[in-house]
């Protein structure tokens, strides 16, 4: 399918595409993600158990982006998401709620959150529900601080998940899909392959079968979530995992699931398992 693209497309539109800097096919073959000339991130990895025999290699979405966008993520001074992670960091130390506590009162420095992002989502302490990072944060806020829950996609929540995710930057994704999480994982997998909406498109149609191809001006990646929260240049703001899911489902002319819904938490677990071994990039930069 790639050959006819190159051979048949009129020279004029090839030029137009090249002028706009779009990548023609496949993830960038040789780009290496090193942040601040210091932290080396893994953007290509052999498939984990969830995608063995399905994908030949697992690629970070970073590899599919244009040179300039990739560069923004390689230097924290150029990464527009850092401002928001800093705001999250401030919030970490801010007392809120009836108990007069901040996150730091119990968790001390935010470095204590190192590694947390790699295992999200996971079963809660009571093993009764699958929780995303947002659920854990709101559990602490409502049950331990006497503070109000943050809305899933509120700025406060996204700033905090950005600050916490950053503590795991460079660590490999590794969620547990065993025990009580197994049923959630199965449910997420089913959603991944369901063709929703009036356009009847599943995640897999775009991100498994057509990763590397162009859908109009968009270079399709594998739809991995190791980069989240993500700064989207198009939205000029930070986007959560579920926010991205909402957008992708809506674009199939479907009725979406809500951010924080059981469906999207299950899907998050499944998608996370497909990215096993990729470095956490949070906070990444995407077009």
């Amino acid at each position: 399918m790639r050959l006819p693209y190159r051979s048949k497309l009129a020279a004029a539109s090839v030029l137009a595409v090249l002028a706009a800097g779009a990548v023609l096919a496949d993830p960038s073959p040789d780009a290496e993600l090193v942040v601040n000339e210091d932290i080396e991130l893994v953007t290509r990895v052999a498939p984990g158990p969830a995608v063995e025999g399905v994908l030949t290699e697992v690629y970070s979405g970073w590899l599919y982006r244009e040179t300039e966008t990739r560069a923004m993520q390689m230097d924290d001074f150029d990464n527009p998401a850092m401002v928001f992670a800093d705001q999250g960091l401030d919030m970490w130390d801010t007392v809120d709620g009836t108990e007069g506590k901040s996150c730091a009162s119990c968790h001390e420095g935010i470095e204590s959150m190192k590694g947390v992002r790699t295992s999200m989502p996971k079963m809660n302490g009571a093993a009764t529900d699958l929780w995303s990072m947002e659920n854990f944060i709101n559990d602490c806020r409502t049950n331990r601080m006497g503070a109000e829950a943050w809305k899933w996609n509120s700025n406060d929540m996204k700033n905090m998940t950005s600050a916490i995710s950053l503590q795991s930057r460079g660590e490999p994704m590794k969620v547990s899909v065993e025990g009580a999480a197994a049923d959630w994982w199965e449910r997420g997998k089913e959603i991944y392959y369901t063709r929703y909406g009036q356009l009847e498109l599943a995640c897999a149609n775009c991100h498994e079968v057509n990763a590397g191809n162009m859908i109009r001006a968009d270079h399709l990646s594998q739809g991995q979530i190791n980069g989240f929260p993500t700064y989207r240049l198009k939205d000029a703001g930070v986007v959560s995992i579920h926010q991205r899911f909402v957008g992708c489902v809506r674009d199939t002319r479907a009725e979406t699931f809500a951010a924080g819904s059981e469906e999207f938490r299950a899907l998050e677990l499944y998608v996370a398992s497909r990215g096993e071994g990729l470095s956490i990039e949070g906070v990444s930069v995407r077009p």
Binding site: Y5, S13, V209, A217, E255, T256
Partner: protein, 165 residues
């Protein structure tokens, strides 16, 4: 008004205007989506009872909120259209490969020609899982219209018939 259309399906104001204008036309001898007669994957009879307009068809094919065929197909015959996708095969020469009836069937519901194809069915109103109200992400409040009107399907077919090499 719909406020959102996929980035890869971004709607110029034209799309809304066009859709509104077309929706206002009377649907006299039209075949409804449920009444389309297939022979295998092919549909012999015009959905409107008349031939379509190839120029209008070209607009439907490149208008993102309508056919948006170029999201998935490249078409050298339209060099002025930027950012052509490469998910499906190039459409150049389509009329050499397919008859008019086969092309109509492909636009109405390509799944009857290519089982399980990623190509959406453009003239179908049922059998969907969680269909939405256009690109709003919400459940539809009224009966689901097909993605393209009968007239738009015929216009696209008329354009495809010009694709000979």
């Amino acid at each position: 008004m719909k406020s959102h259309v996929a980035h890869w399906a971004m709607a110029p104001a034209l799309a809304a205007a066009l859709a509104a204008a077309l929706a206002a036309l009377p649907a006299a001898a039209e075949t409804a989506p449920g009444g389309v007669a297939f022979d295998g994957g092919a549909v012999a009879a015009s959905l409107t009872g008349a031939p379509g307009d190839a120029t209008a068809g070209a607009t439907v094919m490149t208008t993102n909120a309508l056919g948006n065929c170029v999201a998935c197909h490249e078409l050298a015959a339209m060099p002025e259209v930027q950012f052509q996708g490469n998910i499906g095969p190039a459409l150049d020469g389509a009329a050499d490969r397919w008859t008019e009836a086969e092309l109509r069937g492909l636009v109405v519901n390509a799944k009857l020609t290519f089982e399980g194809t990623m190509m959406p069915a453009f003239y179908k109103t049922d059998g969907f899982i969680r269909p939405g109200d256009g690109y709003t992400g919400k459940a539809p409040t009224a009966e689901l219209p097909p993605v393209l009107t009968a007239q738009q399907v015929e216009d696209v077919v008329a354009y495809l018939l010009t694709l000979k090499e």
